[in-house]
């Protein structure tokens, strides 16, 4: 079946294909343009080049295992996807997450959000030609990823936020890295503001380009920074506060005109607010009840110590590896043997604990939520990130659907570039922050 585009194109206009292999580092999307000189008469967007079968795959994985697939949805802010899924499951299971875990979740989500906005603006400014802004923001992102890596172990796809809490407690020394990241990111934001805010070229390319009105934005289902750039105040963190957002003081920047520049500015200001939230949470987070690292030594250190002492006597080995003791675990994971793994003291020393641990991971056992369906949304980097899970009582979801915010934002792309020049496609598309994993799932 020929595309609508091919059947309605006039014979004397030029057809240009901005193909799926895009230099603009947005991954894979195809925009077909019908041009009259440089002006776009008609366009069609074709997706699906990164459709990886997320929803169908999740129907074949247990609730615990499919966490890794959620990381790869909005891959520039992976912790927020994890958070959305974990909170949806907690709503279904009725789990109460301990307070320290909530603060940890907020800190790392906001760090992820800043990294998301930095990447979006980096790509957008690089495609407009401002390569310096790209390099500076990438530098800031490295510091933020250091923070994430120190606690979770991975820079990007972490699978850290688990159902019931988080995987491990914060690193005892995390504050140093957080302070460095905050200082460096603020420096970079100041530099980028100076480079781009009043830059004549950048303003010409983004001011009054691809203007979106409020009613249209709501009709298209826009949420997140793109909706707020049109002037509508809707932020899931403020409207339906979850975790500890109600204890943090932060503003929600709003735009006026809904053009590219407003979308850029809203993201820049939101980054500053996210850094404020991180600072407040680092100050407010309850102190850990027990020592963060296990008493006694982990095996590797014990072996080294034994070699240096030439004898193994007197070395106290930690039986409970990687801080999974009962004392640490109750701070970071909810209490619910049907939904979280038990502490290592029970696993290694009692038969009931061993069976509980074993059954958690066995096929057919493990997390089995009650029958029913639930929808829960968090504020993702692009807007309302919602998970709709239908459960039939078994250990695998019957249906898992993601409400990806950038799907709805990109649905308006054809309308926004109508009548504009080809060169306007680039900043428009960049300011929308299309992430292939979330768009195509």
């Amino acid at each position: 079946m020929p595309t609508r585009f091919e059947s309605t194109a006039r014979p004397d206009s030029l057809l240009l294909n901005m193909g799926p292999s895009h230099p603009a580092m947005h991954g894979t999307i195809r925009i077909m343009l019908e041009l009259d000189g440089e002006r776009i008469v008609n366009s069609e967007v074709e997706l699906g080049y990164l459709h990886r079968g997320f929803e169908k795959t999740c129907e074949n994985r247990s609730y615990f295992n499919l966490l890794i697939y959620t990381d790869r949805l909005n891959y520039v802010s992976p912790l927020i996807n994890n958070l959305g899924y974990a909170m949806t499951m907690e709503k279904m299971l009725g789990l109460a997450v301990p307070e320290r875990a909530q603060y940890i979740r907020v800190i790392l989500s906001e760090v992820s959000r800043v990294s998301d906005h930095l990447t979006c603006l980096a790509a957008m400014s690089m495609e407009c030609g401002a390569f310096t802004a790209f390099l500076y923001t990438m530098k800031a992102r490295e510091y933020l990823w250091d923070v994430i890596e120190q606690t979770t172990g991975a820079r990007m796809t972490t699978s850290y936020i688990r159902i019931g809490g988080v995987r491990a407690d914060l690193h005892p020394d995390y504050e140093t890295h957080v302070k460095t990241a905050l200082v460096e990111t603020r420096k970079v934001l100041k530099d980028v503001h100076g480079l781009l805010d009043k830059n004549k070229i950048f303003l010409n390319r983004t001011r009054d380009v691809a203007v979106m009105s409020r009613d249209d934005a709501i009709a298209y289902g826009w949420t997140g920074p793109c909706l707020r750039s049109t002037g509508v105040l809707y932020d899931v963190r403020k409207a339906q506060p979850y975790l500890v957002y109600d204890r943090c003081r932060f503003d929600v920047p709003l735009g006026e005109r809904g053009d590219n520049f407003d979308r850029y500015m809203v993201r820049m200001l939101e980054m500053e607010q996210s850094l404020r939230i991180v600072e407040q949470c680092v100050a407010l987070i309850p102190k850990p009840g027990a020592a963060l690292m296990a008493e006694g030594m982990p095996p590797a250190e014990a072996i080294r110590e034994a070699r240096s002492r030439k004898s193994g006597r007197g070395i106290k080995l930690s039986r409970n590896l990687e801080g999974s003791e009962r004392a640490v675990l109750k701070e970071i994971l909810a209490d619910g043997p049907h939904a979280v793994i038990p502490a290592k003291e029970e696993t290694y020393t009692s038969i009931e604990g061993l069976i509980t641990h074993f059954k958690f991971f066995m096929k057919g056992q493990g997390i089995r939520p009650p029958k029913g369906e639930v929808y829960f949304a968090v504020e993702g980097g692009n807007g309302e990130l919602g998970y709709y899970i239908v459960s039939d009582g078994t250990d695998r979801p019957y249906r898992l659907h993601l409400r990806g915010p950038c799907f709805h934002v990109v649905a308006a792309l054809e309308k926004l570039i109508q009548g504009r020049l080809i060169a306007d496609v680039i900043p428009t598309f960049g300011s929308m922050n299309m992430i292939g994993g979330e768009l195509d799932r």
């Binding site: 990164l50 697939y69 980096a122 990823w145 292939g436």
Partner: protein
Amino acid sequence: MPGNFIATRFNYMLGWARKFSLFHYPFVTACCGMEYMSAACAHFDIDRFGAGWTRFTPRQADLILVVGTVTQKLAPVLKTVYDQMTEPKWVIAIGACAVSGGIYDNYAVLQGIDQIIPVDIFVPGCPPRPEMILDGLLKLQQKIQKQEHDWRWKKKTS
């Protein structure tokens, strides 16, 4: 055969020149693209290995970095881009999805790009750290150095 010594020396020089002046084409699709961006930027500079210049057209590139998942829908596009590249050309598959389909074993994902194009270096990881990407590039440079280059204007037989 006379000139054998000269031929090998010339081959060595050609290998040296080619390996330190790679123009790469980043065929970026998914999450690994973020690590590729990190590898290309200031922290883990790819430019110090001579491969800094990104050519966004396959005609001018001699190395294609396939970064991220390649779906069945995208496979003909990848093949077209690879065919458009001129000889000599090399392929690095970065990320578990490009290497073997990764965690996605389903109806939509191509299980490894070596099912459609020949690959020189596989860099596994989900995503691989930028240092691993640079290590893959270095291994490719060793491979190019040792390779027998075709400088006598005849078709490659192998």
